[in-house]
């Protein structure tokens, strides 16, 4: 077989050229007024964003901030859906809101296709991934996932208090996605650092942020070379071989998609599992009902996904325009809050309550429109198995110390420290 020469030093240099975007001044510190100065990385938002969103939905449904070089935050379901569907006026070329805007020329591919891609390229890049993430395909991961969840709980032996986020939730998606990509399972701790760098480090000085992001790409290149030398049946080898428009993918497409699968597959599901366990630990009635009626779990799970939707996306405004009553400028960010949409009383009855037998639940936790989370079937499988095993193995559990629960800041929200008393 001919050597794969796509991943050379030249590729790294080409990639660095792409990073010539625009950089906004870093603004941090307490928010004065959430309607005009919001920041989703401040501690108040991380601790409990829902009252803030509820308040904004009432008095200023499309909030603004001058931070990050200018951004808008719609909180009504209707507006969030309209933006998710409108790929003509809102670009996905960067979906993590930060002080750095990639250049417009990066569209329609973006840095991590297909999540960062716009039509028409998006459709073709996404099509490559879909077969690996169907419900039937992810079911093949279920026995190993279940066994792994049991092994994590076996590890709790002798402990009265465990950290359900750090010792349980986070490991499950890490293990599943590293198996699917064919990365060494013991690299999990590094994945956590990558996730934090990319998603929570958005207010770091630009140079440091670039430095940290490039650590992820260094790691991915090592995996690429390992797979070129030792091809095997996994997603990395698949991405190295698959063809689009009659040729193999460009190197930045391969590595960008690997980064996407690794990052998007981890802290999202980790957050969903953690939030669900947090709710059950502090709500004995729901915990007891699920223990007594295991068949209710799929319905309850959808409610946890609605009420604690972990993922907020971002868009960039393409051109200056008046949109739903506000003046948006080209390159303004949109913080596309699916969590806020999911708690809009105009869309959901008892929007602020967790109703575990809610039969009609048209939530947007996995997004709406062409960018529907490609891993949603995988995430649902992991969440269901994680909760089934936990509920089966741990009969009674409570929050050991509600004040010790901490939540991630930024666009992915879930518990990062969750001490639970298990006996």
């Amino acid at each position: 077989m001919a050597a794969d020469d796509r991943f050379t030093e030249d590729f790294r240099e080409a990639r660095e050229d792409e990073l010539l975007g625009t950089i906004a001044e870093v603004v941090t510190g307490p928010v004065a007024d959430w309607a005009t100065d919001f920041s989703h990385v401040e501690p108040e938002w991380a601790a409990d964003p829902y009252p803030i969103q509820d308040d904004l939905r009432q008095r200023c449904p499309i909030a603004h901030t001058g931070r990050f070089g200018g951004a808008w935050l719609p909180t009504r379901y209707e507006d969030v859906a309209a933006i998710a569907y409108d790929t003509e006026r809102f670009s996905s070329r960067s979906i993590i809101l930060s002080n750095f805007r990639p250049p417009r020329e990066l569209a329609p591919i973006g840095g991590s296709p297909p999540i960062s891609s716009d039509p028409p390229f998006h459709h073709d890049a996404r099509k490559l991934l879909l077969p690996a993430f169907t419900k039937a395909a992810v079911q093949r991961q279920e026995p190993a996932t279940r066994a792994f969840c049991h092994s994590l709980i076996d590890g709790f032996a002798g402990q009265e208090v465990v950290d359900a986020a750090a010792d349980y939730a986070q490991h499950i998606p890490m293990r599943v996605i590293s198996d699917m990509l064919g990365f060494p399972p013991e690299d999990g701790p590094q994945f956590r650092v990558f996730v934090e760098d990319l998603l929570e480090g958005i207010n770091l000085p630009p140079d440091e942020r670039i430095e940290r992001v490039s650590r992820l790409f260094d790691y991915l290149l090592v995996q690429v070379h390992d797979h070129i030398d030792n091809p095997r049946d996994d997603l990395t080898t698949y991405l190295l071989n698959v063809e689009l428009y009659g040729q193999k993918l460009g190197p930045d497409h391969v590595v960008g998609t690997m980064a996407l699968l690794l990052i998007a597959g981890i802290d999202t599901t980790w957050s969903a599992i953690g939030s669900s366990l947090w709710h059950l630990a502090k709500t004995p009635a729901d915990r007891e009902r699920l223990a007594a009626e295991p068949a209710l779990l799929p319905t309850a799970m959808e409610e946890f996904l609605r009420a604690f939707a972990p993922v907020t996306m971002a868009r960039l405004v393409k051109e200056d325009m008046r949109w739903h009553g506000v003046d948006m400028k080209a390159d303004d960010w949109i913080l596309l809050s699916f969590p806020a949409a999911n708690r809009d009383p105009a869309q959901f009855d008892r929007a602020g309550d967790v109703v575990i037998d809610r039969a009609v639940n048209r939530h947007a936790a996995f997004g709406l429109g062409i960018h529907r989370c490609v891993g949603s079937h995988l995430a649902r499988m992991e969440l269901r198995v994680a909760l089934e095993v936990w509920l089966e193995r741990i009969g009674e559990f409570t929050l050991a110390d509600p004040a010790a629960v901490t939540w991630s800041a930024g666009q992915i929200r879930g518990p990062r420290s969750l001490p639970i008393r298990i006996r």
Binding site: K127, L130, P131, F133, T134, K135, A136, P298, E302, D349, R350, D357, A359, V360, N361, R362, H363, A364, F366, L368, G369, I370, R372, S376, H377, R380
Partner: protein
């Protein structure tokens, strides 16, 4: 007057609430003094204040007691009654409502307009009634009696408007015949039942997917796996010709109502 010998605190409380209902109904909220209620109940002002902090609290608590008693009576008459029957029974009774509880609501609504001290507990009271009805609606939706697409809150609101309105439009202002009123309520209730309820017409029900809208969320094939499947890329597909076999109408409706992209239609052929 001191405490009446041999009477428990609970009995005194009940006696005060009954007296309050009568006196408020007779003299209106503004025309009633706390002392009038104490006198009517045969207790001292001091004893009254041991139970109730204010006139406003007496008004709203009296309302609560009467509301509960009505419902308790309806329940006791037939505990196995379905939720829709329960709503019908209450609805049938509404145009005939007379007496203290009806006047009490009117007094409380009027007082709440002017007096924040009444308005606050009234908001709580009305909220409780709405929640109670919404819970009933949810139970009825879970049991297949009412269409799960209906908003329990909207239906609760509708019932509240009827109930409170019936206190204002009394039979002497405008009357309606029992039979015609019952016929209207029955008709309304049947419109609220799950669509395609009748099994004999089920072979006429078909599911359809709008492939332009479908994004492969998979809610349809999760919720109704005998009606929907998926293709190699995870997009939803209709199994067979989409005809919904008897007994699967609810699954079909749930698939329709849970599709985040609104890509599913359940339609009569």
């Amino acid at each position: 007057m001191g405490r009446i010998a041999g009477v428990t605190a609970a009995e005194t409380r009940q006696r005060l609430l009954r007296a309050a209902a009568d006196v408020f109904a007779e003299r209106g909220y503004d025309g009633t003094r706390v002392a009038d209620i104490a006198a009517a109940a045969g207790v001292s002002n001091g004893a009254l204040y041991a139970h109730f902090a204010s006139k406003a609290e007496l008004l709203v608590d009296a309302l609560r007691t009467h509301g509960r008693r009505l419902l308790a009576d309806v329940f006791a008459a037939d505990p196995d009654r379905s939720v829709t029957d329960l709503l019908l029974v209450i609805g049938r009774w509404l145009p005939r409502r007379r007496g203290a509880p009806g006047y009490l609501i009117v007094e409380a609504l009027v007082a709440a307009r002017r007096d924040e001290e009444v308005a606050r507990p009234m908001r709580d009271y009305v909220g409780e009634r709405a929640d109670w009805i919404a819970e009933l609606v949810r139970a009825a939706q879970g049991g297949g009696e009412l269409d799960p697409a209906l908003s329990p809150n909207a239906l609760a609101h509708f019932c509240l408007l009827l109930a409170m309105g019936s206190a204002l439009v009394t039979p002497d202002l405008h009357a309606v015949g029992d039979e015609e009123w019952n016929a209207l309520l029955t008709r309304l209730m049947s419109a609220l039942r799950p669509r395609r309820h009748h099994a004999d017409r089920s072979d006429a029900v078909k599911v359809r997917i709008d492939h332009e809208r479908c994004q492969g969320h998979g809610r349809c094939y999760d919720l109704a796996p005998s009606l929907f499947g998926d293709d190699d890329e995870g997009y939803g597909t209709v199994l067979g010709d989409g005809a919904v076999p008897p007994g699967q109408e609810r699954d079909a409706r749930l698939a329709e109502l849970n599709c985040p992209e609104r890509a599913i239609d359940v339609e009569e052929a």
